[in-house]
């Protein structure tokens, strides 16, 4: 193989890696404009059925810690720190819901208690095992958003 060809190959695989990376938006590259994130973080639609599980899972969304949600009335102990999410899909668009889940502080203000689930805008002294990580993955966010849009009254 000639030197020139090697360089072309390297460049090609770099470009491939680059485009694969661009499909999932890194937390710091997400732009919240007018309380909206317009496009899917992964370029793929979310799965509402999986999103429902992620929403309830204490190790993932644990959204029930703060929100009542009648659709999950089979689960015990819904918190009351945030508003009930019944009908939330009627009140907000998917683009707005995506922004709320990604970084609620960009929508509700710095003072909100609601954690940002896909942001590096976090508190100090993050525990070693969570350092540099978001609470949810990009696909988790899309799944939860897909689920939220199904909540209508």
């Amino acid at each position: 193989m000639t030197k020139g060809l090697k360089i072309i190959f390297a460049a090609a695989s770099f470009a491939l890696a680059g485009s694969a990376f661009a499909e999932t938006l890194a937390p710091d590259d997400v732009e919240i404009v007018d309380m909206e994130v317009t496009a899917s973080l992964t370029g793929k639609p979310g799965d509402a059925t999986i999103g429902r599980e992620t929403f309830a899972d204490r190790k993932k969304g644990n959204c029930l810690a703060c929100h009542v949600n009648a659709d999950l009335s089979d689960q015990l102990f819904h918190g009351e720190v945030g508003p009930p999410l019944d009908g939330v899909g009627d009140r907000w668009t998917a683009q707005e819901l995506r922004a709320i889940v990604i970084d609620s502080k960009e929508v509700f203000g710095e003072q909100t208690i609601m954690p940002g689930f896909y942001t590096m805008n976090v508190g100090i002294n993050v525990a070693e095992k969570h350092k540099g990580q978001t609470i949810l993955s990009a696909q988790d966010v899309e799944d939860v958003v897909a689920y939220l849009t199904t909540l209508s009254e």
């Binding site: 009140r91 203000g109 208690i113 002294n125």
Partner: protein, 287 residues
């Protein structure tokens, strides 16, 4: 139309946050704590000057009827066993000097009355505030020639429970005029409002803004410290204050400071002040 509605929802959310506990369903119960039908405990009182809330309320008000009843009956309160054990330790000789606490201080019930209600206290030699654990360790090292306790050793918790219990019913009041207490208070206040961890929460986010609300199965209180060490039913054991602090910080998914570190001592000074005027409840019973 949609936009107006959303603004309404948003406003309602922000209002709830601002109003904190006031009008919410699960707020503090309207009951009185009287232990063994004779000792009245101050569980609600006007907040000290400069306090962000109007009223300070003991964690007792946020617990279930069963848990509240356990604290109101000293025969049923499992924490009382630790008080008994603490009295034994008070009278037991340990260390190379051949002394017990009682050798220097005499009868515990007499000597200790009121002391626990006024800690943490400025310690001029150490040039920092001392809580009871640090004071006990100083006595052990200097006067008894015994080793300091390991953090959360069973005997440390029992002895501190005994000492605090001798002030039961007396209002908490700490002296911020001594030494540099004011600066430590200030440092503690900063910590109280600093958001930590991946969940990005401060003490104030949960205990000031949302006390009276359920967060999943937990009914948030103001996070006052007048009942510590506290008997926790979940753990079937006494829980020390610094253990509780570390647990709450860990729950924000943050690294937590060492027990008795300057950071947690400052927090203890500040949070103790926030509960000024509440009676000492040790051993309180919590879920």
């Amino acid at each position: 139309m949609a936009k107006i509605y959303k603004t309404g929802v948003l406003l309602a959310g922000l209002l709830t946050a601002g109003m904190s506990s006031a009008a919410l369903a699960g707020g503090p119960v309207d009951e009185k704590l009287v232990i063994d039908d004779e000792l009245e405990i101050i569980t609600r009182t006007a907040a000290p000057e400069g306090h962000p809330l109007d009223e300070v309320i003991s964690g007792w008000h946020y617990r279930t009827e069963e848990t509240r009843a356990l604290e109101a009956d000293s025969f049923q309160n499992p924490g009382m066993l630790y008080v008994e054990r603490g009295e034994e330790i008070w009278n037991t000789v340990e260390g190379d000097a051949g002394k017990s606490c009682a050798s220097c201080h005499g009868d515990g019930e007499e000597f200790l009355k009121g002391i626990g209600a006024n800690y943490p206290k400025w310690n001029a030699d150490a040039n920092k505030p001392f809580n009871l654990e640090l004071q006990v360790d100083q006595c052990r090292e200097e006067n008894m020639q015994a080793k300091p306790y390991k953090f959360d050793a069973a005997d440390q918790k029992a002895l501190v429970t005994y000492i605090k219990h001798q002030s039961i019913g007396m209002p908490v009041e700490i002296d911020l005029s001594q030494g540099e207490m004011q600066e430590w208070w200030k440092k503690g206040e900063e910590t109280y409002y600093t958001r930590t961890g991946q969940l990005n929460l401060a003490c104030a986010t949960c205990h000031e803004d949302y006390n009276g609300n359920y967060i999943r199965a937990d009914h948030l209180s103001q996070g006052n410290v007048n009942g510590f060490p506290t008997y926790r039913l979940k753990q079937s054991a006494m829980v020390s204050l610094h253990n509780r602090f570390r647990g709450c910080i860990r729950d924000t998914r943050a690294e937590f400071p060492a027990a008795f570190s300057d950071e947690l001592m400052a927090l203890e000074v500040y949070v103790t002040w926030r509960g000024t005027g509440l009676s000492v409840e040790t051993p309180a019973v919590r879920q």
